[in-house]
Symmetry: C2
Subunit: 310 residues, 2 copies
DNA sequence: CAGACTTCATGCGTAAAACGCATGAACCTG
DNA sequence: CAGGTTCATGCGTTTTACGCATGAAGTCTG
């Protein structure tokens, strides 16, 4: 016989930890430790261990391991909605409390990930000179923010009217260009569209229609546009292009450095303007923030095409 | 200027950790890092740091530090009900999933803390001989269990009819005796009640009426019964009694070892039976568990006064 | 059917988080 | 004013979480 006893009233041994809950919810929703790992930014090993420690802690199997797959057990199926809701509620509560003003000199910016990494963040040095006392906190988003509950001060997204969140400035049209590694282009010279169509066209998973739109504006049959490797972010597309794997159709601001450095060349002499410009959106409450006003003044001045909406 | 950026979509930096949430809720409810530490079984230092890291993470002050005291801020006041509810919901969800059968050979017992520590756990060696293949998991409780949602298999509490949870056996009446350190009693001899009343009477915070009942049954004026230090648990009361700080009125089973070892003496020749006996309560589903049946058979046989209710 | 690839679990070692000890500053009380 | 309290923090230790590498088991393909 063995016995364990836990006589402390609080700090219950059965309360899951945050990493355990997150691992469980992602693994349950994807049916895969590997995919959960990718989603959470850890290794598959970390997911496997978190699931094991959660099951040990609760004393119940949450998954059946069937032929190298994770299948939810009855207990796991019952726990999943509870756990998912708890994580969502916790994030919402945290966001709500964060909106209690925080630090007056911190500007909280949400932006598209690649836009942030490749355009905004490299330019923040300029904003530092413009507003030396302001701290910037940049987070990623793919979706418009609900400023009623989200504490962040502004978001930079691609969007069309009507702009959620109440107020918006157009920052820039999205001007897309075709680039490639110099070795892929004979002599590094731009090609005609018909010639472009014969090369591998690198695909951006969240923008599946880009090459379609490109070739339609050239009056060409788009039937071959899907030939080429597919990636999830423009950053990955650019890495593939630099590696000579094909042509990339990407927003011009993202490739300025690579073009200047000669790592990439323009593969076409024309550009395409998409129908969804980059927009700065913000709640009315941000107008009261000196840090926000400084940022808005700076970015509207810095971008030639930027203009406040009436 | 400084800027931080967090471009990973998941594993949000603003999601509080479990230690942070628990520290916050306890500190908010007790208005004290020191009392929160005691409640959570960590040091005051750990609480202070957890609060600081939570406030840094959320970017907002949850407390005002006013003259060495913690006072909830507006943000903290808003966050507290959310955080408390989340922790309670998480525990409930965990308990619910734990009731999906777990291990068939584990018997999950909830018991009063001092009863568990001083009576039940020392006897579990006897149960080991009676049922060698069973693992016992003992946790503390002060309140009756709701067996609809609680996965535990039985609870041992003091209770009067009707017994929540459906089924119950009387284990023993609560027989209370007065004990003291030998040095407090001249020659270690029992005293009359009138003489007892002149000594410090150690108080048990959760049983404020014990000395009142004791002296009323002796026909004495109970006006002086509150004189003596107060403690939260019988274990603490006994420690104080052993230290010679006064008389302790405690359940007889708790002092058997101290009496046998001479660390304490009976200070009165009579005992008092309280109106709430020790009861074993359990849900109908436990009847199907061999481990439960073995335990029930053992404890009913082991205690002379134990009897199943009709 | 063999080889290449996938998944999940785990030994080992490292990094990060959580914590305790001790101390100090600020405050309160007798 | 001395002795006590609280909360914050420097420093070091313990514990947790994780990554790397590997193996077992399974799937897919030529």
């Amino acid at each position: 016989m063995r016995f364990t006893h836990e006589v402390c009233m609080t700090r219950r041994a059965y309360t899951p930890t945050m990493p355990e809950l997150e691992a469980f919810v992602q693994a349950a929703q994807t049916a895969s430790a590997t995919r959960a790992a990718a989603a959470l930014g850890v290794t598959q090993s970390a997911i496997s261990r978190a699931l094991s420690s959660l099951e040990a802690r609760l004393g119940v199997a949450l998954f059946h391991r069937m032929r190298q797959r994770l299948v939810l057990s009855d207990a796991g199926r019952a726990f999943l909605p509870e756990a998912a809701r708890l994580l969502a509620d916790l994030d919402r509560a945290a966001l709500t409390v964060m909106s209690f003003g925080g630090h007056r000199d911190v500007l909280r910016i949400a932006a598209l990930p690649t836009f942030a990494a490749m355009w905004l963040i490299p330019r923040l040095g300029g904003f530092a000179g413009h507003a030396p006392g302001v701290t910037v906190d940049v987070t990623a988003t793919l979706a418009p923010l609900d400023f009623e509950t989200d504490p962040r001060d502004l978001a930079i997204l691609r969007a069309k009217p009507p702009y959620r969140g109440g107020e918006a400035d157009i920052l820039a049209d999205e001007r897309l260009v075709v680039v490639a590694a110099p070795a892929l282009l004979s002599g590094g010279r731009a090609l005609e569209d018909a010639a472009l169509a014969r090369l591998p066209l690198l695909q951006q998973a969240t923008r599946p229609n880009l090459w379609l739109d490109w070739f339609l504006t050239a009056g060409l049959d788009p039937i071959t546009i899907l030939r080429g490797a597919r990636f999830e972010q423009f950053g990955m597309v650019l890495a593939a292009a630099r590696a000579g794997l094909g042509l990339a159709l990407v927003p011009e601001p993202f490739v300025a450095e690579d073009l200047a450095a000669g790592r990439l060349c323009l593969a076409s002499s024309r550009a395409m303007i998409s129908d969804t410009p980059y927009v700065l959106t913000y709640p009315a409450r941000s107008r009261d923030l000196p840090a926000f006003r400084a940022f808005r003044d700076w970015i509207l001045a810095d971008l030639p095409g930027a203009r406040p909406l009436p």
